[in-house]
Amino acid sequence: MPALSFLDILKFVLMASLCPHIFILCNAGKRVVFMGDDTWDSLFPKHFQQSFPFPSFNVKDLHTVDNGILKHLYPSMKRKDWDIIIAHFLGVDHCGHRYGPDHPAMAEKLTQMDQVIRSVARLIENDTLLVVFGDHGMTDTGDHGGESQKETDAALFLYTPSMLVSTEQGLAEPMVVPQIDLTPTLALLLGIPIPYSSIGKVMVQLIPSGDLFDHNAQELQQAEALFVNAKQVNRFLETYSLVAKHLPQETLDHLQDMYLKATKNYIMLRDAFATHSPLNSQELKKLISDFHVYLVSVQEMCKVSWAQFHSLQIIVGIIVLVGSCVVCFIVSEFASIVESSYKELLFLAVFTGAFASGTVAIFQFFWLEFEAFSVLGTFTVVAQVAFLWKFNHLKNSNRYFLNRAVNIINTALKGELQMTSPLIVFMVFLLRCASLFSDSYIVAEEQVVSFLLSSLGLFILVHLTWYGNLLHSFIDGFKTTNPGMSSQQMAFVKDKKTMHVLVACVALLMFSLCLSHVFHGCRDEQVICTPSLFLAPLCTLQDVQLRNIHYVLSVCSLLTSYYLVRRWLCYYGNFNSHSLAVFVARFELPLLVVCICLFWAVSSTPEESFVNWQQFIRLASSVFPRVAFVLFCLGIAAVFWNPLTVFVKPKVLSEEGPITQSYRASGCVSPQAELQHLIPHIYQCMRRSYQVPKEEGESLKDEYYQPTVEAFGLGTVYSAPMLLILVLFQLLLALLHPEGLALSFLLMLLEAFAILQIHSKTSSLYRCRLYSDKFSVPWCVVLMWALASTQFFYATGHLPTFPSIQWNAAFIGFSEGHSNQVLPALLVLLNTFSSCILLAVSCPLLLFWPLICEPSNTAKSGSKLGELKSDNIPVMEMKLRDNPEYFSRALLQLMARYLFIHGAQLLASVCAAAILKRHLMVWKVFAPKLLFEASGFLVTSLFVIISLILIMRVDVCLTRWVKQLIPVDSR
């Protein structure tokens, strides 16, 4: 059993409750000696006469448990004060998890096990039975927990020195028996009653009889065993069907008939045998087969009916989800109403919800059984209804809001209709949701999502061309060759550049989508599929050269992503201030990168190559990641504490002239960029927003001599900390993944960049022509963002199946194991939902990016025209501060849209699981998909809120900073 695998523990428990396994025997007064996995000891404390538990938590530890067992096994066997010895070897399982089945370490382990079996078989005596069995098999990657044949098939080996089966009826080929059959068989062999709730069928071949060559006697013996077994099963079934009403009555009656008939026949035959009359062997055979059929039918029936569904809960769940989606949609579309009266809405909703749920809780407490589910359900449903009612009320009663809302909706609709016809976007979204209803499309979800994403990208291009926004000036430019029309030519040049950028971005998007398929994993259902080479940890790679190449690639991709962000920050002048956030960017991020690289280097060295360094390597492989975790936490805290990346430079007048001096002030800012982003412009705007009197329309030339303060990086004051957080998370998550996936994370960064660029270019193309909407982010882009998050779930090697969860993530930095369950669960969660986390955290960038990219358009065209008026000054994100109500509205809208898309996907997969609950694939495909989708949605919501908190924090800090600044100004 793999350490920490919650599912396996669950299965274990399930197994214990469904078919009590051998360990129930301990209660039958048998002396049981146990050695091996310490999980047994914690599950059955004080059951064993003697136990030798060994820590099993660490998957990387192949030898502790096995060597411990070997130390105690032979002495215990020789002592002979036992009835049963249980020896649970773990090495093979751990080896499979760590190295896979085709590794030399596995061969070594198997040889060792072989020798153990050999020597034990030699040691045991005639009255002892050696049972060797595994509780599961393994896939080609060495994991298990799924339902493929390779995982569920395990070996069963029985040996005793005395003759067990007569040689003539020896088995021609290996028999397949269900694992639950082991319980009754062992119970009968030990001479104790079969556990009450077992529904296993005894393996009749193993029932010994005095005379191996007397067929009749042997068969009668077998029939007796089956009779005992059937009696026990029947008793269980009778009691069980009284409690659980869901067993089909006809089947029960039928089974009862079968049982009674077979029992009657058996008793008749037994009596006949007792009176030494000749036995009819034909009848005996028929009897045995009757018992077989009975027991197998009981198993079948239980298998079918133990999967139960609570229709009411399903329906309530769907209603709650539909309500949430509707609320999200309303919030996103009527953001202005919601935002202006959110207090009333929230208060009413929460109050009525709490009231209703409180009533239900009290009612249940006194008259019924308390049930948390129904209380929470009531709360949510009532709160949603109250919200909708209040909203409707507000909408109807308040003309002012209505008019405003209608106006806003009209402008937005006009814009959106022009921008991306919502019909197509809606259709793509519908297709995406519909794809969750088919098991084939869920299996191929990676392809489905990237197909739709590429389609959206191409669609934007085609749509722009169709409406002439992309290429119309291209043609105009050709037609009007009038040199006098400079402004039009300007626009033409600008548009041509925008067009090139757009095409390049769509190409980049599709290219990275295509490349991301390299990192895929494989489901059981995909027959022709080999999992990506990058998914295996480096230490499992045999080829040294390949390993080195992979390592270098991973390190390079980490460095590249850091470098890209650093360049971005430099370019926008966010790299000079003395705030903690900049400190993080300057020193902590590189340190983090170094830590991760060193950890990878240490963990990928093969153990056998540096025997003398063993201790050091072990130490390093736990120290480096821990340092990285600490650095990450510090970084997050620092960014939250002091998120402003604005560099303030007091103005010093000198002969050199202000412009040259300001170049020097910020060494890493390119002169061109600085000209654009020189903050006098921004500062001026800022001052305007704080009502410092200033004449409008003043030329910039004067401005250079006016200001007393220059601030750098004010234009990207919101997005710089977002980016920092994004990179911090990216590095942490890359650490939690197999080394090769660092490339995938770089790809994710590039794809997000492509989507952001597409968004900003399209919106700049429209905005300058059509309307000046206030920052609203269109559905199309939000949908792309959400699809990218699903797509990178797959591209980071994850699959919505339980066996594919990367449990190794829990041991990064904690190779010795954990003392509690919280930390490993957190690490595995972070690992599994990395793409959700990254894209949710960076979601607000969708709002900021068009503003950041805007100045390069206006400023350039302006400067060439020679009319650098203050209206043309790039203000970038300070625009948001100038219009705080629009800012908060747009942010609310963006978040609501993002959550709506995720919520609707969740709703679709819930509906799929509910409708197809009798489908063949429901446990294999739909149910796991639903669980992953739901957890992903929770993680997404959480991190969306975290990013909101960060923005609010930036806002607060900015306000404080500006207040500090004003005295400087008035000096």
């Binding site: 392809q447 197909f451 590429s454 043609i475 050709f478 190409a507 290219f511």
Partner: protein, 219 residues
């Protein structure tokens, strides 16, 4: 005037549609074991060549394509050369897009390229026939108010329909029905062909329906 043009278009489109039908059936006479799925490439090439030949012949006869400005041989040769070049380019671009969409890169490269050729035949070749090798004219036709005759409108419709058909053709590929037409690129080529034929049928009726609303700028 318009009615005559629409009738001409109906007959031209009917001829192309019938050609596709014949091109689907004809290879049975020459190739043993012929079936649309089994020997898919044979069908594809026969369809491509037939559509190409009929298109070129039809539009040369109808005189839809712009009249050449000069009649020198070298001019014609350059035009021909450019037409071929554009066709080749469009095949390559379609191939690239299809691969980026997730088609196997190496495994069935020939099939993918043939699919690209088919798409180019349905779209680019018709553009070349009707508008000549002139990218500016193409861009004009494929923008909102750019159509200057009903032929331009029909070009828009058929191109859109073939591309959308190919797009929808990709949908059945992941399904686990194990049908021969789910193999790449059969469903896509069939989808594109179906879309093209639908476009051929839809274009005249759409134009007829909206003939009052369609006003074309003069050339």
């Amino acid at each position: 005037m318009k009615d005559i043009e629409i009738k001409g278009m109906v007959s031209a489109h009917a001829i192309i549609a019938i050609t596709i039908l014949l091109a689907t059936l004809a290879p049975t006479l020459f190739v043993g074991n012929y079936s649309v799925y089994g020997t898919h490439l044979v069908w594809l090439y026969s369809c491509c060549s037939a559509v190409a030949a009929v298109n070129i012949a039809l539009y040369a006869l109808l005189g839809v394509s712009p009249t050449p400005k000069r009649h020198t041989l070298s001019y014609k040769v350059t035009k021909l050369f450019r037409s071929f070049m554009y066709f080749g380019f469009s095949c390559l671009i379609f191939h690239g897009i299809v691969v980026l969409y997730g088609a196997p890169l190496i495994e069935s490269a020939l099939e993918t390229f043939s699919f690209a050729v088919l798409l180019s035949t349905f779209t680019t070749l018709r553009c070349i026939c009707m508008l000549g090798p002139n990218v500016q004219a193409w861009i004009r036709v494929f923008s909102k108010n750019g159509a200057m005759s009903i032929w331009d409108t029909s070009l828009q419709i058929t191109t859109l329909c073939s591309v959308i058909g190919a797009w929808f053709g990709a949908f059945p590929i992941p399904l686990d029905w194990d049908r021969p037409w789910q193999v790449w690129p059969v469903s896509c080529t069939l989808g594109a062909t179906f879309g093209f034929v639908m476009g051929l049928l839809v274009a005249p009726s759409w134009i007829y329906w909206y003939r009052k609303h369609l006003t074309y700028k003069s050339k």
